[in-house]
């Protein structure tokens, strides 16, 4: 197995990471402002209750953020103002608090979405890198196997590879006996789907063979070198989604390319 080197960032990842850091920082500053505004509001409420309307404006400027433009709302009442002005001040602080909380929610949503995109970019990059840094065909199979488990979320699969005379044989299986794997390899509907070279998932896959979740032909340069038949998904993985299809597309093409580029000698060991 090739030695694991620290992964470099995929294209575009640096920009996403920088944006992520920026949003994290803004989100945390907004959280501080919300806490400060809450304190101010409590102080106003307390003074209002005591009849002493001595107020301090919220320390918005300290955060460096201008969420509510100064012209958009009147300043809270100053020290010595009456109870009515104190009430207006409390309403103003409440309004600012809600605005900032809304902004914070929006930023948090953007942050989560960005984290998801970064994770997907990382998954695609790792999948490709694992396949193309494989030095032997056994390592290509290792990479495909690990991608099925860790990216697609299944430990029930068969990897089929075409022999020199064209027949399919199981090169790797998990949770399937060799008899079950041979049934997959010899099934005429499965063979026809592999020959078509198109990814088959969901209901279409289960019509090929009961329990089959995805059939991923390994095809490159017009040549099919085999396929991956993915059966039951892990308990916590509900279904294969759009992003899984992207992963499967990469595995189909780059799995085949990596296999073709790997030394023949190791194929005997596979």
């Amino acid at each position: 197995m090739a030695a694991l080197k620290p992964p470099a960032a995929p294209p575009g990842h640096e920009a996403m990471a920088a944006r992520h850091q920026e949003l994290t920082s803004v989100s945390s500053r907004l959280a501080e402002m919300v806490a400060m505004l809450r304190q101010s509001r409590e102080a106003v409420a307390s003074r209002h209750a005591d009849g002493a309307a001595s107020l301090t404006p919220p320390p918005m400027a300290a955060s460096g953020l201008q969420v509510v433009p100064p012209s958009a709302a009147p300043e809270p009442p100053r020290a010595g103002a009456g109870p009515a002005q104190a009430g207006a001040g409390e309403a103003l602080l409440q309004d600012r608090l809600e605005t900032i909380e809304q902004v914070n929610r929006t930023i948090r949503d953007e942050l989560l979405s960005l984290q998801g995109q970064m994770a997907q970019a990382a998954a695609l990059y790792v999948t490709l890198r694992r396949l193309h840094e494989a030095g032997t065909r056994v390592e290509v199979l290792d990479g495909l196997q690990e991608s099925i488990i860790n990216m697609l979320g299944s430990e029930d699969f068969v990897i089929l590879i075409a022999g020199p005379r064209g027949g399919l044989a199981a090169a790797r299986t998990m949770q399937r006996s060799s008899e079950q794997a041979n049934l997959v390899a010899s099934d005429p509907r499965v063979q026809a789907a592999i020959a078509r070279g198109a990814l088959t998932t969901g209901a279409a896959a289960s019509t090929l063979m009961p329990g089959l979740n995805a059939l991923i032909p390994l095809v490159a340069r017009g040549r099919s070198i085999g396929a991956m038949a993915v059966f039951q998904l892990l308990q916590q993985k509900e279904a294969l989604g759009a992003f899984d299809e992207e992963i499967m597309g990469l595995l189909a093409l780059h799995g085949a390319l990596a296999w073709m580029g790997a030394p023949e000698k190791a194929a005997d060991g596979a």
């Binding site: 197995m1 090739a2 694991l4 620290p6 992964p7 960032a9 990842h13 990471a17 992520h20 850091q21 994290t24 945390s28 989560l112 984290q115 998801g116 970064m118 994770a119 990382a122 998954a123 990059y125 790792v126 999948t127 890198r129 694992r130 990479g143 690990e146 991608s147 488990i149 860790n150 990216m151 697609l152 979320g153 430990e155 892990l234 308990q235 916590q236 993985k237």
Partner: protein, 124 residues
């Protein structure tokens, strides 16, 4: 501020690479080990702030590695999050009995993983 150190223990290069990418970008210092035995040794020598531990590994599985970490006074307090393919209750109970602090399931959900890390380590 000193970066928090996270030890990743997994026999799968794919998982290690993926976790390294996710955590490295979050400003954590990342160190790796390929099995439970190496994981225990690195926990001892590197004193990480948190360990992400796979369950099924050669030489020593994740449960045994956690038991050894908990039995060693110098590292017994470090939070250990198990990374498992099986989300069944019985598997989780085995992990908690061994002494793990929490768990995440494969395929790894980056947002869930980062949220758990943040809850144990605070902001990166």
């Amino acid at each position: 501020m000193q970066r928090k150190k996270v030890l990743l223990v997994d026999d799968s290069p794919t998982v290690l690479m993926m976790e390294q990418m996710l955590l490295g970008r979050q400003n954590y210092e990342v160190i790796t080990a390929k099995d439970g035995e190496e994981g225990v040794a690195k926990a001892h020598s590197e004193h990480p702030d948190l360990i992400l531990m796979d369950v099924v590994m050669p030489r020593m599985d994740g449960f045994e590695a956690v038991r050894r970490i908990r039995a060693d006074d110098s590292i017994s307090q470090v939070p250990v999050i198990m990374v498992t393919t099986r989300g069944e209750t019985v598997n989780m109970e085995k992990g908690y009995t061994a002494g793990c602090s929490d768990y995440v399931t494969k395929p790894i959900d980056a947002r869930e993983l980062l949220a758990k890390l943040k809850s144990y380590l605070g902001d990166a």
